[in-house]
Amino acid sequence: MVRMAGKGGSSNGGGGGRESKKPALLLGRYEVGKLLGQGNFAKVYHARSVRTGEEVAIKVMEKEKILKSGLMAHIKREIAVLRRVRHPHIVQLYEVMATKLRIYFVMEYVRGGELFARVARGRLREDDARRYFQQLVSSVAFCHARGVYHRDIKPENLLLDDAGELKVTDFGLSAVAEQMRHDGLFHTFCGTPAYVAPEVLSRRGYDAAKADLWSCGVVLFVLAAGYLPFRDRNLVAMYRKIHRGEFRCPRWFSPGLTRLLRRVLDTSPPRRATAAEIMGDEWFKVGFRRFSFRVEDDRSFTRFDLDDDASTSPPEPDTPRADAAAAGREKPRRVAAGLTSCASAPSLLQLEARGGSSSSSSSSSSSRRRSSLNAFDIISFSRGFDLSGLFEGGGAPEQPPHPAAARFVSAAPAERVLAALEAAASAAGMAVRGRDDSSVSIEGTREGEHGALAVAAEIYELTPELLVVEVRRTSGGAADYEEFFRARLRPSLRDLVCDEDEPTLLQSDERSRSL
């Protein structure tokens, strides 16, 4: 799609003349504003949520065109895929709507325009180019780890938000974008094929992950050089250069940058650097802050640095709300686990310092009184009340596991439970990040596939003799958690109460164990 950056004119609706004028209010939910851009398949409008005032971009596609080009099934699949990739550097799809004639994608609105508008004013300093490249590669790696490939990384798809952070758009929508390419529009600064990997151009079967990384390499070159690595006025000649991997780094590139580019713009896909290799590169790593984040609700992220050793455990959002996920540093693999969407509801046992003051976000005050459970707390443990099961069975098979909590009942004193949790943590090579007399949070020191594992445990009083221990994963990969849970946590708790009673799983929640 051609985005008319800068012009922003909405004067001409363009295209279909017979098309009735667009509704001013979409579903009573969005006030549709000016046209931001349009392509063969889609028009993008600025819009505002009537309820929240939030700005969004709405991509409107004509069903007829999509049907004619046989892309409907593809679009359906991509919607499901996009739902799985929520990342601070990826433009998010919020919801989908449809009428008889059209499909509407409601997406995050990114205000800062295209990254390449910046380059058009001149090449970037190497540090700036690196920063954008880091953000690009980390989001691409994140998607690859979830089996999602972009397939069309190019200037128009790299946007900047208010804060100057990169936002990659049109992830997973490549089929539509690819088709758009046939509209014959090659853009002034950089024609689309310039970013495409040689193996893709030659229409061989290709490894989508490696192809994406090639495109990232071209982007990096352009950012730092101010021009394309493979350029020729003659398209055939350009193709030839791409196939041969013929490019020359300008003399102002540092040796480290040149070295990295040679590894990324390698015409042989097997030889080409993987995302993990790129992220391990010396030039790449300069100033790179690995981060992990959790999805707070469907619109916001809490980010925390993984490289920050100053024991800044994430401001301990005492609400272990959603599943967390880490920045992708993983090798491209098809895994369905990880980041997700769900469960932004408050944690069941989020007994926010009940009995004490009800500061809504109970800070990790260490003198918190241990909460005791009443009938309502206990009843709400029932799986019968948890309707989320309805959506999992019928829903997307690849849906990530629900970040449910596991609860144990123990007859041991709280101190011993805490000690056992800490022992389990240290046996697993994890560090205790915070502790008071009714809770402990532990964090992995080793980076797993999905970032460092973090686990929080809270203790509540069921009866004067019995405690309920709730354990949940607050970040990191599901598989890592499973391993920790099965191999370390359970045995140590079992030992704890073996002479009293078998440790009972209060709500044997298979969802937390199924992976």
Binding site: L26, A98, T99, S382, R383, L387, G395, T463, P464, L506
Partner: protein, 214 residues
């Protein structure tokens, strides 16, 4: 656009009636598209055992417990509340209206009221002490947990803040306000994603542009 319909030349009874979708959207926090996406889910659940586009209790249990049939007091309660007409099955309209309460954007007082009805087992207008106890025992049973009966009494007592043996709507509303987590089962974040989880509707939606612009 005749060509759009080639695949659905004759409308199958499985398809959602457009007017119904529009009406349900008007009644709930859902958009028309979300109602259509929910219809996809509804079709799956309601035809899992008996292919009649109605959710029977058995189908409800299967869906909730992922393939395992399980008796559960709480599932029974939820089912009964979904089954507004009390005819033993959940129809699509009932399904949407009830789930509407669980929408993250649904008004809080709807959630409070729904939860109250859930706990008011005998529908006397009060959550009575014996009902609380019955539910606690059911949960302990569900969890294979055996605790002393005086401990059970204590757990029940903790919930009855006034100590008069029953909890009325007002008391419950106050309690829910002070302890918002008791409503956490009443919000399903999934519902916000429903159009992306069940995107099939984008192909066969028959909603007109004017219905979209309500």
């Amino acid at each position: 656009m005749g060509c759009l319909q080639t695949k659905h030349a004759s409308r199958s009874p499985h398809l959602l009636d457009t007017r119904e979708a529009v009406a349900l959207a008007a009644e709930t926090s859902f958009t028309v598209s979300e109602v259509e996406a929910l219809h996809d889910l509804f079709r799956k659940i309601s035809n899992s055992v008996i292919r009649d586009n109605l959710i029977h209790k058995e189908e409800f249990q299967l869906a909730l417990f992922r393939g395992k049939k399980q008796q559960n007091l709480f599932v029974d309660r939820v089912f009964d509340l979904f089954d507004q007409k009390r005819n033993g099955v959940i129809e699509f309209g009932e399904f949407v209206r009830s789930l509407g309460v669980f929408h993250p954007d649904a008004p809080e007082d709807q959630k409070v009221a729904f939860a109250f009805k859930l706990y008011d087992l005998k529908q006397t207008g009060f959550i009575e002490r014996h009902e609380l106890k019955e539910m606690v025992l059911a949960l302990l049973d569900e969890s294979d947990l055996d605790i002393a009966s005086d401990a059970v009494e204590m757990i029940v007592d903790r919930a009855d803040t006034k100590g008069d043996g029953k909890i009325d709507q007002e008391e419950w509303t106050e309690y829910a306000k002070d302890n918002p987590y008791v409503l956490r089962n009443m919000t399903l974040p999934y519902l916000k994603d429903i159009t992306m989880v069940f995107p099939s509707f984008v192909m066969h939606s028959e909603i007109s542009e004017t219905d979209m612009a309500v």
